[in-house]
Amino acid sequence: MRFPALPFLLLGVSAAAFAVPLRYAEDRAPAIANPLFTTTMSEARLDELVFDGLFTDDAELRSTPHLAEAGALSEDRLSMTLNLRQGVTWHDGRPFGADDVVFTIKAMQNPTTASTESGRVGWIKAVTKIDDHTVRLDFKRAEFAPEDKLHFKILPAHMFTSTTVSRSDTFRNRPIGTGPFQVVSFNDDNSITMQRNESYFSAVKQDEIVMREVADKNYQAKLIIYQSIEALVRVLPRDLATLQADRKVELYPYQTNSWWYLGFNNTDSDLRDPRVRRALQEMIDIEALLKPIGTGDIITGPFVPSSPYYNHEVPAHAVDVDAATELLTDAGYFYDGRSWTKDGKPLTLRLAAPETLETAQDVVINLQAQFRRQGISIEPEFLGTAEWKEKVWRDRDFDLILSQWSFDRSEDIYEQFHSRGTRNFVGYNDREVDGLLDSARAATDPQEKKAALRTAHAKIAEDVPMVFLWTLDSYSAMSVRVKQVVVHPFYFFTWARDWYVY
């Protein structure tokens, strides 16, 4: 049924009033706008504006129909028939249909594409198109509420030749989605201009959104106070007090359950030996690392302290040089007065850190000093986003990595620590933890899942596949001129269609 023209007319008139663009600042511009290869939070936020999922979160964070109008779960809960919304078009005007859903799921599952999001469709056995607006999904296991798992973004099939999509496909800079905003241009000064999608199936108030990369961190707080930008996604810890005192800016919690870690390459380097890893952990003074960069909590495992899965019994470790010396000597290293050497070769470790991680440089310099004093030399290397995806995600070409993981409210560490996890860069492989993670995923009793993951926390902390560092306080700042702002705890822009700058 054609959408009545009248509301659009009214909307058009009222939209004129909000011609002011909503300029939001990121620390670093997203490199790839292709949901198949989304790896960073800034890319996830951009996808939220430009693409849609079959289901999405409503104001009370419950799954609600979006591109799929209704989902009928079969009797044996092993398959589901989805009726897709009618009259939806892509940004280039082409109609949205079942082919797009089928293409997206197949592309994510295609091993040669090696999509970083393949983990999110691992539970779908098969996807078949019934007709232009109906799709049937078959599951590997009985699913209680599959719509909770159908929030991944749908791509336009007509923009790709096959389900084998290359990472450097030009789609990365000219994304076509069905979302509330369409990308107008990837500008040269690392900013991205987005206009409202006029044919979106629900009202979009804001006319234009611009993503700016804030190059100058020193003035980041002042920029939003003086309205050079309307929104700052991640406020630097040192600017929290300034922004809170200002009446023209309001702060919203945006923790995203993120924690920093120093990952060891557990497979093919000196760090294969757990004694060496444990020795390195004993050498690091985490408080001294955290002090220059901000306020936060030191952690002992793969969860943030507020998480129900955090095991508070695991003791935070203190610097213990003697233990480190003993461990390294056991592992066959010899200290020659200046550095630890093994069969003549001094222990030198290559540390990869992402350029995009704010204040990573301070931590790396600090860490390098601590290790150098203990006789281990570190060669740091700051990698751009594209290089990071190659070296760390694909080739695992590093000894140490310093990075930060952010989790949504499920805090699902399966991908990071299960031997079959797609994000297990460090190459951690422990049968017992695999069992715990599998039982946590299959758990039907919340306390069972809590107990399993708390045990996993303790076991992982003991194996030291990585040194768990800290979680920082993280808030986003919004100018008072942006109205109706409700921030999604992970994807930030889920309800951005209701926001408008006045």
Binding site: S166, R167, S168, T170, N173, N187, D188, D189, R212, V214, A215, D216, Y219, K222, L223, Y226, Q227, S228, G384, A386, E387, E390, K391
Partner: protein, 314 residues
């Protein structure tokens, strides 16, 4: 009008440009390891590169192949900066912008230098030492001090309520004509340019003012400055054309520091990402700018200088 001299000049231009491109290609050919290994996604791009650069064929053949492409205006495709996009499409518009800024900066340097020199020709004054001290600073240091000085001053003014926030606030973040003008002025002043231009103009002025025909003009009671200005044009063009190469170097730095989207900042990105076709393309364009500046310099000098024109007509 003897065609010989004009063709001579154009021949020199062409041969020099040819030499520059050859130099750059030799650089790539003589690289110890295989440059493709240095690329992060080297394996993936090897087929494209093999075909495009004929890496396996000898230098001469590669030279001819690159030149045949160049003559057709095809500089190859970008590898890592904008993968798959033809180089010409990536750099055409930014190169025009950069050339515009370059010419503007040259103009500012010439006018400012002449103005400073005009007043104090020959006499050592504090003014000269001051400008020498300011101008001596390298371009990036001037930009660092200027940008942060302006930001801090604006911040103080806006904080104290004397003025409200200018649109360009927080250089270099927000794009605004003011940021471009600042870059042009810094390029005209920095790395000793302004004081050197002033020194050269002063030497020329001293020579002209003490020359015979100016004394004669003064004797006839005519106004002196038209003569001086006319005679100054020759040396000015020499100074300008000799400085072009130096300005391009400064421009690359300023575009990177002040986030201007010209060919210079793309060259820097291409160098960091090891996007060789793009870097080569931009280098060729910059070399042609320098050679054109030199050609124009010669042409203008010949046209203005009566003696040379006479020799030309003979």
């Amino acid at each position: 009008m003897p065609l010989r001299l004009i063709i001579g000049r154009i021949a020199v231009f062409a041969v020099t440009l040819l030499g520059a491109v050859g130099l750059v290609l030799v650089l790539l050919w003589a690289a110890p390891g295989d440059p493709i290994d240095l690329l992060p996604n080297g394996e993936e791009l090897r087929p494209i590169l093999e075909e495009q650069w004929q890496l396996d064929r000898p230098l001469g053949a590669r030279f001819v192949a690159y030149f045949s492409h160049l003559s057709r205006g095809d500089l190859g495709t970008s590898l890592t900066y904008r993968p798959g996009m033809p180089v010409t499409e990536v750099i055409l518009e930014p190169a025009l912008r950069s050339t515009g800024w370059l010419v503007a900066a040259l103009g500012v340097a010439m006018v400012w230098g002449t103005a400073l020199a005009w007043g104090t020709a020959g006499r050592p004054t504090w003014n000269r030492t001051f400008w020498q001290l300011v101008s001596i600073a390298p371009v990036f240091l001037l930009a660092h001090v200027a940008v942060n000085g302006i930001n801090e001053a604006t911040l103080a003014l806006v904080d104290s309520g004397w003025m409200d926030r200018p649109r360009w606030f927080a250089l270099p973040g927000q794009p605004h004509p003011f940021r471009t003008i600042l870059a042009i002025v810094l390029l005209a002043v920095g790395s000793g340019t302004l004081s050197e231009v002033r020194a050269e103009v002063e030497n020329a002025l001293v020579k002209i003012r003490s020359s015979g025909y100016v004394a004669a003009a003064r004797a006839r009671g005519e106004r002196v400055w038209p003569h001086v200005a006319l005679n100054l044009a020759g040396p000015l063009t020499t100074i300008a054309s000799s400085r072009a190469a130096f300005f391009v170097g400064g421009l690359v730095i300023l575009e990177k520091v002040l986030l201007l989207n010209g060919a210079g900042s793309i060259l820097w990105q291409a160098a960091v990402l090891r996007d060789y076709p793009l870097a080569l393309g931009i280098t060729v364009i910059f070399a042609s700018i320098v050679c054109t500046a030199r050609l124009l310099g010669d042409a203008v000098r010949i046209a203005i200088d009566p003696r040379l024109r006479a020799e030309w007509n003979a």
